[in-house]
Each structure stands twice: as C-alpha cells, then as structure tokens.
C-alpha cells in the first residue's frame, strides 16, 4: 500500500479548509500541509452561499450588539466565549479576504457596503452581490495557488480516520481516478468536510453534503454536539430546493400567504412596514419564520402547488434596477428553474433544510476531545450558532474558525510524536473492508438509492420542523433497521475507475450514523428551543437543558447522549424578542 505523509492534513477543501490551509502555511511555511477533497476545491458547497458575511465594520455598530444578536438568535445555546471571539475576529478575517481580492460590493466612496440580514439589529452583512460564497471560495482557492507548501489531493474520498496511541494520525482515502486506496498520514488532521443536508429529502444542500466529516469523527470516538438543531431556511424553491437568499427580504421583499397577507405579523414578529425594519417581520430569525409557515399551512392559508404547499415571496415593488444590481442570482435562479421573473411575478417558496447547527464538538480553537483531530466550518460545532444560526454568520465562521483551527493544528503538529507503525495495519484492514464489503461483494441485495430515499423520508417525518416523542421514536427504530440493511448493499459498479457507486454507498453509511445521532439527541431533549420544536414539550427549559447534547457512538454502534453546560459570559438567558423597539445589548 502507498503511504504519503504530511504535517497537517485538511479533509475538505471548502471555505474553512482552504482558510485553514493558508493559516498553516503562514504560521510555518516549513510545515507540509495537504488538502484532501472529494471534489475539486472550487466545487465545494461554500460556492452556493448567496447573501453575505456578517462582521462589524460601521461606526454605528458594536461587537456586543453582534454578539447579542447571535446569542439571542441561538436561543441562548451558544457558547458565549466563542461568540465573543467570533464577532471580534470576523471583521479582520473579512478584511483579510478583501486584501486577497474578494470582490466585495462597495459604497460609492469605495468603502465596503453592508446590508441588513435576518435577526441582526444593525447593518453588518458584507456581500458580493448575491454570490458571496462563490466569490469567497474562488478567492480563497486562487489564493492557495500561491503557496507552494499546500499540496492537494483533488477528488479523493476519505473513508476512515487513523487513530493510535490515543491520537489521530491520518486517514485512509480512495483516489477516485484510479481506485487506489492508501494511507495519508499526518501529525494533525482538520475536518472541514461541511454539513449533511442530504440526510433529508428536500434541501438546499449540494449532493456532496453527506456528513462524511461528522461520520468520520463519530466513528473515531469524537462526540457530535447539538445534532438535533437543524435549520430550515424559510425560502426555498419548491421541487429543486434551490435557495432564495435572505438578502431578498433584506432588500425589502415580503412574505405573503394565499390572500396576499403578510402573515408574519400574526406570529409575534412585529408589524408590517413598507421598508424593512431590522429584527422584525421578514427580517426575523429563520427558525421562527419556518415555524410560522407550518402554522399558516395548518390554518389553510398557504397556496397548493404541484410539490406541496407554498407561500409567496414578493419582490415586485423593489423594481428591476435594484433586483439586477443586488439580487441578480435570485432573478437568474427564479427565471431559469422556476419560470418566474421576480421583477413581475410572485416567487413560490417553502421551508427547506439548509444548515446544521450541530457538528463535531470542538473548543474555541477547533480542537476536538480526540488529540490530533480538529474541525472547523459547518462540520464543527464550536458553538457559535446555538439552537438557531443567524443568516450571514456561517461564512465568517468558516474564516474565523478555519484560521484558528489551522493555527492550533500547526502548533500540535510541530510538537507531535512521529507516526506510529500501527496505523498502517489499520489502513490495510480498511482497504480489505472496502474491497470485501463493497467492491467484491456479489451477494448483497439492497440498493443504495432505495435505502437513501427511505432514510430521507424517515428524517422528514420524524425530525422535521415540529417533532414529538412518537415521531422521533419511530424514526429511531426505522434508522436502526436501515443500518442493518445497509450491511447488505449490492453495488452495480465493481470497477476501480471513478467509482461513484462506491462513493454513494460510503456516503450513505456516514449519513445513517449522522441521522441516528440527530434523532436520538432530539428524542432526549424534552424541551423546545430554537430550531428544535417539540409539540409535546413546547417550552424552553433552562433548568434542565441550558446544555449541549454530546452524542457518542457506543460499542454496538448506537448513539449515547451526554450533556455539557453552555458557557455563559455576559448575557444571561432571556426572552427572544423580535419586532419590538430597539433593545440594548445588556452587557453586565
């Protein structure tokens, strides 16, 4: 078996991974850093982010206000020390990206322009029209090309973390082009593999978002945190699930029901005004807006479409000029995929799975409890997002915690012991497992796509916007059965060259683990907080659940949940208030 060796290895080449790789190179150019990614880095899902990146830069704003918006938006489940570091470093990181060439939208005087965003009390969201993630990712990717020390494994799929002597020492990966399976060892490994929206049937997430990084960590013994907190974005196009950015509402778009009524006023989100008001109505947080949709549906006030009920997003009053300048991608997507021109017509939308607040548990430097293993970006849970992430916080999170994890992993690698020989035996075992279970298996009977569809349907019915004990318990049972059936997969493709059938089977196995961790965490959290709404426990319970869920994989493969107290620094738990007069960031 081939073995290659690096000091720091990035698993995933999206925003967090590339930022981390640059951080390693800048801290110590002598460290050998490599990025292994199942797609070319510029294909990573960061590319799809539209609306913007939050960072305090204007004189009427303050770090405390950004922190308070984030913490209240997260229903007090955020770790406040992490939030404080995040809001402080975010503007520096966004400026750094500007210095690397990111084409941020500008004011007439040449300074950075900012726009309003959901749940934010001040205008602080930087944007590059409505292709912010695309421009950030390409800027980062092109910038990595100037660092000779950054080696890339493009289109390699990681199947396992190598752990020996109590620390992570590398990975086993398949080179898709050749089918070669090999060990890539490293003194530290940073997971930047993104989220897992694909465990659900209807999602904004790209096909590559299958929870691989979460599954890798979970199987290696690292806990996942707050997996029950799953964000529905309120405005996805029906059928495709394509995201219509919150920026459309920040620019002044209305959400209306079948009567043309701005229904959010009925859900404690403020009173409608012609111009958008911050932290009010359409600029409320995503969890509350998605929940309001379900209530409207129950009242029979949604519109029946060919793919289920929808409401309408109305941008017509914004005018063609503003839409073309600030929302060109929204217009392109609606015209191309929905056959609707938002300049003249209403856009049908419905809530759609968008983001995982939970992920691999890390500290404020991206370190997981497993030595040598770090994580950053959507795959990780630091946690700055708590029970509900605010729009435009995830892009700066990639940068801030990508850079922090890069720095910490570089330091770890500089002092780590050499790679132990035992990991090679593990790598051989993993190679045999893949060959025997998948490539050479001729007796399997289950189809990957069938199990995947059953898993997705199960997740939607058991762990959707509203959950109950019975829905979750039924989901947990079905997922267990799917796990057993997945041991018996039959691949159509047994070849070595670019075997995407094999990749799909491996992705399914990660998704099933992640799905089980979500349902079990949701079952045991008998309260409602942020994006986790239990109709049988409709109130928040700070006495019992001002705590993160930590889910470990037990020896029998089942999830086991523990709790970890939330770190509160200056903002004691309070009521989430939207649509009211300005409130002070009540720092004590």
């Amino acid at each position: 078996m081939d073995v290659t060796t690096h000091d720091v290895l990035l698993v995933g080449g999206g925003g967090a991974g590339l930022r981390a790789a640059i951080a390693v190179s800048e801290i110590n150019p002598n460290l050998k850093v490599a990025v292994v990614s199942k797609v070319y880095p510029m294909r990573s899902h960061t590319v799809s982010a539209e609306g913007g990146a939050a960072g305090v830069i204007k004189s009427d704003d303050s770090l405390d206000e950004h922190a308070y918006d984030t913490i209240s938006g997260g229903d007090w489940l955020c770790d406040q020390d992490a939030v404080e570091a995040f809001v402080k470093e975010s503007p520096q990181e966004l400026l750094q990206l500007e210095h690397w060439g990111c084409p941020w939208s500008r004011q007439d005087d040449g300074h950075i322009a900012v726009r309003p965003f959901g749940g934010m009390k001040k205008m602080r969201t930087w944007f590059a029209a409505d292709k912010t993630g695309f421009h950030m990712l390409h800027t980062l990717f092109q910038t990595t090309m100037k660092y000779n020390a950054i080696f890339r494994y493009d289109e390699w799929f990681v199947t396992k973390l190598l752990v020996d002597d109590g620390r992570v020492q590398g990975v086993v990966a398949i080179e898709l082009m050749s089918g070669k399976i090999q060990a890539i060892t490293a003194k530290s490994v940073i997971l930047c593999a993104g989220g897992c929206g694909r465990v659900f049937p209807f999602t904004t997430n790209a096909s590559i978002k299958t929870g691989d990084g979460m599954g890798l960590a979970y199987r290696a013994g690292a806990p996942l945190k707050d997996m029950e907190f799953i964000q529905y974005h309120p405005t996805g196009l029906p059928f495709t699930g394509i995201l219509i950015t919150e920026a459309a509402r920040a620019e002044g778009g209305y959400l209306v029901n079948k009567d043309g009524y701005r229904y959010l006023q009925d859900y404690n989100l403020g009173t409608p005004t012609a111009k958008p008001v911050l932290r009010s109505m359409e600029l409320g947080p995503r969890d509350r807006l998605s929940q309001a949709f379900v209530k409207e549906q129950e009242k029979g006030r949604t519109i029946d479409g060919p793919y289920g009920p929808v409401v309408h997003l109305d941008l017509r009053h914004l005018g063609e000029k503003l839409i073309n300048a600030n929302l060109p991608f929204v217009r392109e997507l609606c015209t191309k995929y929905q056959n609707v021109d938002p300049v003249h017509e209403l856009i049908p939308v419905r809530p759609v799975i968008h983001y995982m607040m939970g992920g691999v548990s890390t500290d404020i430097n991206g370190a997981t409890p497993l030595p040598g293993l770090f994580a950053a970006g959507e795959v990780a849970c630091v946690s700055i997002n708590g029970a509900n992430r605010l729009g435009s916080n995830s892009l700066p999170e990639l940068l801030v915690f990508g850079a922090r994890a890069g720095k910490a992993a570089a330091e770890f690698a500089s002092s780590a012991k050499p790679i132990s020989n035992a990991v090679l035996a593990q790598a051989f075992d993993e190679q045999r497992r893949i060959e025997n279970q998948y490539l050479r298996n001729t007796t399997g009977r289950e189809r990957t796509s069938t199990l995947r569809e059953e898993m997705q349907t199960t997740m939607e019915t058991s762990a959707g916007i509203y959950r109950t004990e019975s829905s979750l318990a039924a989901g947990a049972k079905t997922l267990r059965q799917l796990q057993e059936r997945s041991d018996n997969l039959a691949l159509d493709d047994h070849s070595l060259t670019f075997n995407t059938d094999l990749v799909a089977a491996l992705e399914l196995s990660f998704m099933l683990d992640v799905a089980e961790s979500m349902v079990q965490s949701a079952l045991l959290r008998t309260e409602s907080r942020g994006a986790h709404q239990r109709t049988d426990f409709p109130k928040r319970n700070d006495e019992k659940f001002l705590a993160h869920s930590l889910v470990f994989r037990a020896a029998d493969g089942r999830p086991r949940v523990e709790y970890l107290p939330v770190r509160i620094t200056r903002w004691p738990p309070g009521e989430r208030v939207y649509g009211q007069p300005a409130q002070k960031a009540s720092a004590s």
């Binding site: 797609v39 070319y40 510029m42 294909r43 990573s44 899902h45 590319v47 799809s48 520096q92 400026l95 750094q96 500007e98 210095h99 690397w100 060439g101 084409p103 941020w104 939208s105 500008r106 004011q107 007439d108 005087d109 040449g110 300074h111 950075i112 292709k131 695309f134 421009h135 390409h138 092109q142 910038t143 090309m145 100037k146 493009d154 082009m177 790209a206 096909s207 590559i208 059928f239 495709t240 394509i242 995201l243 991608f329 997507l333 191309k336 995929y337 189809r447 990957t448 796509s449 691949l491 159509d492 493709d493 070849s495 070595l496 060259t497 670019f498 075997n499 995407t500 059938d501 799909a504």
Partner: protein
Amino acid sequence: MADTIKLEVSRYSPETDAAPHFQGFEVPFRRDWVVLDALNYIKDKQDGSLTYRWSCRMGICGSCGMLVNGEPKLTCATFLADYAPSPIRVEPLRNFPVVRDLVIAMNDFMRKLQRMKPWLIRKEEKPVSEGEYLQTPAELEAYKQFSMCINCMLCYAACPVYGLDPLFSGPAAIALAQRYNLDSRDQGANDRLPVLSQHDAIWGCTFVGECTRVCPKHVDPAGAIQQYKLTAALDWVKSVVMPWGGK
C-alpha cells in the same frame, strides 16, 4: 406528449472498452426535469454504474458540464422539455481526455490556471489593521464580469483552438488572468505578462468567439482575450518605439 423520453448516453470504461459507445435509457418525461435529473434517475433506478460529476444543481459549482446534443451545457440548467420528444444525446465535454462515461480529466486546466498567478499581487501589502483597499463601484465593474467564471470548462469544449493546440492556455484561464489585471487593487500585470504573451496563450486565439457563446455565466472570455491582445500590442509598440517603455 409522450410520458417517457430517450437518452443516448456515452459510456466508456478504460477497464473494459476500447472506445466509447452509446447506451439508450428510457426515463420519465417531466416538464421541470433537467438533463441531470434524468441522469440521476438512471443512476438511482436503472444503472448505478453510470458515471458523471454533479453537486450544487443550481448552476454555480461548475461540476456538471457535458455535451447535450453536441453543445457544451451545464446539465443542471438544461431542460428535457427543450429537446422533447426527440432523443437526447449526452456525451463528455469535447477536447478533454475521457476518464469514464461522462467524466473528463481537467488537470490540464488546473495547471494552466495556476501559471496565470490568479491571486492579488501587491508591491507592498497593506496591513489588515489599516482597513480595506478602496474600490469604487465603477472600478469593481471593470473586472467583475471576468470574476464570474465557475471553471465549468464549457468554453474549452467549445474552443476550436484548444481542440487543435492543447498548449493554448484557453479562454477561462486567460479571462481569470484579466480578472486580476483589471482589478484596481492588483499590481501584478507585469508578473502575468510572460505567461500571457506566450504564443500559446493570447496569440493562439483566432477570435472565433465560441467560448463567449457557450459561457453559462456571461463571462465573455473572447472579450477578455481581445482586450488583452490590444494591451499587449500597445506595450510592444511602446517598447519598440520608446525602448524605456515611454517612461
């Protein structure tokens, strides 16, 4: 309207085939399906060995470029309804080595892009603590179009020059070099000159304009190339007439 439609898909495996061949598949015809939906239907329900790249299915990741009835297209944005009821032919992008079925090798582009130095070059870096480089909306507009390239490779598949001369840097790489050359914050045009002014970079282009026609993001690589030719020619004239560059 028929309730199914036929796809003729190019199949090739280096492990078993001497050359690519076509295989027909019947898939449901649905008005809101794109070609990629039909390929996914085949892979999920009929033949899991069908091999192609895809990811975002919203026209921004650049993965799913293929030939549809001979034209380079993003298959996530190409509707079956535009071709029905006739069969639809799906092939890998032209001008690239085929790895398998609809997957092409694009490492040549990755090398060419890197040679262009596609990053912001400054003579002196300003510390981040001193804030942003100012850039007016008009200055942003000067390069913005060229920054929209999603590296989908449709322009290379359409480019007759790249087809004949693989040394040609090609439309996307040149457009991205221009993206930085035209950025008011960049001072690296001279660093990019040696690569850009090589015969196989700029001068290879005969201004066919196919690259601009097929570009799904309206980047206009042909415009970038022509624009740069003019700059380079003027620089050359200046250097001949005024050997010290007119300074």
